[in-house]
């Protein structure tokens, strides 16, 4: 009798455990989860589930090369989400999800250098000032040829990055080739929390114009934006150029925070979802003074949050847009983390700018741009024959035009 009671209690606990995920989320228990527990699946021969399972098994069992089950499964999910034909709805396997997380959260543990491909290993494209690598003496264009004594020539950059990163306060030994140095240099670097710089600024030489570039809209971007603006303000600038060329976007929340420095309680955008709509507004109490003209530099690689930032400021008449049309990503995605650390990024809404514009990109059958994106107020192309260096008005023709715009009376 007692045993039966214990079994009943165990069943109740087991059931609560099984439903715990829903209970914790304050949701009704998902009936399909119970069906699955009971082993109920769709076994019809041509059911979509069977079509997928059959292909998966055929490839796993019969393809002439061996395939890792996880790789195949993730590729299937990437294809599933891609079948909607929406380039912003995508499946991210664990590694990609983790990298995406680092980019949007804007911090991770490492030495603080951005690496690029190099035949000898990995080249430091940039070394973040104040980060462990910088403090140890590493500089841009240094080439990492070995990590912890192991040569890395020929390895993909991602793999080398993976070896350089590690838990906080652990050490990594890097062997570096530097041009002008006869022997390889050795660096022992303590890994730390790295906050990726997303905002950089300077006063353009001989102009009194501030130049502020935003590489993406991550979590720390607002505070970095404020910090750089304070520095420029202290130097008494007479105009400001904000460069969002090549900025792929990031967090909508960050863009809204940054827009709150310009306008308060104003619409940032209207999100139209499947069943309802939501208006995102700027906050109050954070507006700064802007005693000068502002131009925003953009190009076809300025997308998402970068377009929202530029488009909202344009709609409120606060800036002049200079450059070429922007990408035209007028949708909002949610990220759904799955329990195996992969995630699904799904478009949940389309957005409209404050003046009602929908800037969604349209392409023809060949994928060539037809329309969409923000149109610049002042159209100017980058002159590639000048080997443009972004932020250098002598070679960067778009920046030169933007300076002209902000200094014009």
């Amino acid at each position: 009798m007692k045993i039966a009671a214990y079994i009943s209690i165990a069943l109740v606990f087991g059931g609560v455990g099984y439903a715990w995920r829903d209970i914790k989320a304050g949701k009704p228990v998902n009936p399909s989860a119970w069906q699955r527990l009971a082993g109920v699946t769709d076994e019809r021969k041509d059911s979509p589930e069977q079509v997928f399972k059959n292909a998966y098994r055929l490839i796993r069992n019969d393809y002439y090369r061996s395939v890792k089950p996880d790789d195949l499964k993730f590729a299937g999910m990437q294809g599933l989400l891609a079948s909607l034909g929406d380039p912003h709805t995508m499946f991210m396997p664990p590694k990609l999800a983790s990298r995406f997380s680092e980019e949007t959260v804007g911090n991770f543990f490492g030495v603080g250098a951005r690496l690029g491909a190099d035949p000898l290993g990995a080249k430091a494209v940039s070394v973040f000032e104040g980060a462990p690598a910088y403090n140890a003496g590493m500089r841009p264009n240094d080439v990492i040829i070995a990590v912890n004594g192991k040569k890395v020539a020929g390895q993909p950059t991602d793999a080398i990055v993976g070896q350089v990163k590690g838990p906080e306060n652990t050490y990594v030994n890097l062997t570096i080739m530097r041009s002008g140095s006869e022997k390889p240099l050795q660096f022992k670097i303590k890994r730390g929390r790295i906050t990726t710089p997303t905002v950089e600024s300077k006063v353009l030489e001989g102009t009194n114009v501030g130049y502020l570039s935003i590489s993406n809209f991550a979590e720390p971007t607002t505070s970095q934006f404020d910090h750089e603006l304070d520095q420029l303000g202290a130097k008494g600038i007479k105009g400001l150029v904000i460069d969002v060329r090549g900025n792929p976007g990031g967090l909508l929340e960050t863009a809204a925070e940054m827009l709150s420095r310009f306008v308060e309680n104003k619409t940032v955008l209207t999100m139209k979802k499947r069943d309802d709509q939501e208006v995102v507004k700027t906050y109050s109490g954070a507006v700064r003074q802007w005693p000068y003209k502002i131009a925003i530099l953009m190009d076809e690689n300025s997308a998402s949050a970068a377009e929202i930032f530029a488009g909202v400021l344009r709609d409120y008449g606060l800036v002049t847009l200079v450059g070429t049309h922007s990408y035209g990503k007028a949708s909002v995605q949610n990220l759904y983390p799955l329990i195996d650390k992969s995630s699904a990024k799904i478009t949940i809404a389309k957005y409209y700018l404050p003046n009602g514009d929908f800037i969604g990109r349209k392409v023809d059958d060949d994928g060539v741009y037809v329309s969409g994106g923000l149109a610049p107020d002042v159209q100017v192309e980058l002159d590639l024959d000048k080997d443009p260096l972004p932020g250098d008005p002598k070679t960067d023709t778009q920046l030169a035009k933007a300076i002209e715009v902000v200094l014009k009376r």
């Binding site: 455990g17 099984y18 995920r21 059959n54 299937g76 499947r274 759904y336």
Partner: protein, 446 residues
């Protein structure tokens, strides 16, 4: 003072309480078991993050758990249907998309996913019905171009180690593997092995340009070329990639449709040549048709019945030309009609330590003596058929066949799409003993 009976009673009560307590603890252990069971059965997070554009807490708190593939499919489909901005109603499209993703991930020029139009074209070609410019194409990797093309046409060397380092992107080239007799491509002088370079001013993407660009950048960094020279390459890349066609789409443009014209730039031994070609519908000799003792054979569904009927008449040769990459299972049925029982070579696979012997079980006691007409269009299942008949002594090959001995399985999906999957390669002599090619000049037959 307590008596022994009281003590016994107290001990009994205490022991009972302990048993109840332990029993309860054991029963409560079912809670984490239930949580773990759910994790095994259900991939989705119950509380997806609602932060627009990206999640604030991207990494789930639980340890990674492996999810079975079917649950993955079901749950991700459900998530999509529930959350996507527009209604998602076509479940088969999701399944085909997932299959497409898996096939693409193999990065194998022989294992391909076909959309509805492409699959219809493939099945028609197997029946001898050709649309387009009268040519058949295959995707070839750089190292294979020499092998697949006519040797005299030259081709490109395999990728060097340096090039491998320069780019990890692999885009196969689109090469002509067969020409329809009297088709507009053949009339315009297109030859087997020619590479498609451009269609209607759309560059057909390939890795060479990317390598060229990377090399130019390196040369500029080392001051070997001027900025103006680098910019010329940059401009070329920009202009070409802006309107680039991927090879599979390029193939569709040449093999689909039966009216209109298409302007094609071909590449042969590094030389380019432009042609204006008309599209038309060509119906080749029907499967099983017998002319002067030569029966046409293509391995489409029902080919075994067709062959049986043809063999009942007076047939001295089988024409395997223009026999596009037929169905392997159908080919095996046909083998059993003409080959005596035996083991004829093996199917090799990179994953199997031992080759799988090709065993034919048949009731053919007195096999016919046949000639097999082959050319570079005799590929895949057709070529394996030819090689097995040659090995078994049933037939001699007339003509020079291609080299594609891949065993491909073809799968049709319910929504009209389909895919092919390479499951192995035929090896007539798996122990390494070479067999002499027993070929005759095709002229002898006419």
């Amino acid at each position: 003072m307590s008596t022994p009976t009281d003590r016994n009673q107290r001990e009994t009560t205490r022991a009972g309480a302990w048993r109840t307590y332990i029993g309860f603890i054991v029963a409560a252990a079912a809670l984490p078991v239930g949580i773990a069971l759910r994790d095994m059965r259900d991939v989705g997070s119950a509380n997806p993050t609602k932060t627009a554009l990206a999640d604030r807490n991207l990494v789930a708190s639980m340890q990674p758990v492996a999810i079975p593939e079917a649950d993955y499919f079901r749950d991700v489909s459900a998530l999509l249907k529930h959350e996507y901005v527009e209604p998602v109603t076509d479940d088969q499209k999701l399944a085909s998309g997932a299959v497409r993703g898996m096939i693409l991930s193999l990065n194998d020029a022989g294992s391909l996913f076909y959309d509805k139009n492409e699959f219809r074209t493939l099945l028609n070609q197997r029946e001898g019905k050709f649309e387009g410019i009268g040519a058949q194409f295959a995707l070839v990797e750089r190292g294979e171009i020499n092998r697949s093309a006519d040797q005299s046409l030259g081709g490109q060397p395999p990728e060097s180690a340096e090039e491998s380092l320069m780019t990890r992107i692999r885009i196969p080239r689109l090469a002509v593997v067969a020409l329809t007799p009297d088709g507009s491509a053949a009339k315009a002088g297109v030859k087997v092995g020619d590479l498609v370079y451009e269609i209607d001013q759309h560059w057909v993407a390939n890795t060479d340009l990317l390598v060229k660009f990377q090399r130019a950048q390196q040369d500029y960094d080392k001051k070997k070329i001027t900025l103006s020279q680098l910019n010329t390459v940059r401009k070329e890349v920009r202009e070409k990639t802006e309107r680039a066609l991927m090879p599979m789409k390029a193939s569709n443009k040449l093999t689909q449709g039966s009216s209109g014209t298409v302007r094609v730039v071909w590449e042969r031994s590094g030389q380019k040549r432009e042609t204006l070609l008309a599209k038309s519908l060509t119906n080749l000799t029907a499967n099983g048709a017998v002319t002067n003792g030569v029966a046409t054979l293509r391995f489409s569904t029902g080919a075994d019945e067709t062959l049986k009927k043809a063999l009942a008449g007076k047939v001295s040769a089988l024409d395997l030309r223009q026999s596009v990459d037929g169905d392997y299972a159908t080919m095996r049925k046909c083998l059993a009609l003409v080959t005596p029982s035996g083991t004829y070579g093996a199917i090799t696979s990179e994953r199997a330590s031992k080759p799988t012997p090709v065993v034919v079980k048949s009731s053919v006691a007195k096999p016919p003596k046949l000639k097999l007409l082959v050319d570079s269009s005799t590929r895949g299942a057709s070529l394996i058929f030819a090689k097995i008949l040659q090995k078994s002594g049933v037939a001699v090959l007339v003509g020079r066949p291609g080299e594609d001995v891949a065993v491909r399985t073809t799968v049709a999906l319910p929504d009209g799409t389909g895919y092919t999957l390479v499951t192995g390669r035929y090896d007539a002599n798996p122990k390494g003993k070479a067999i002499a090619l027993n070929t005759e000049n095709s002229e002898g037959l006419n």
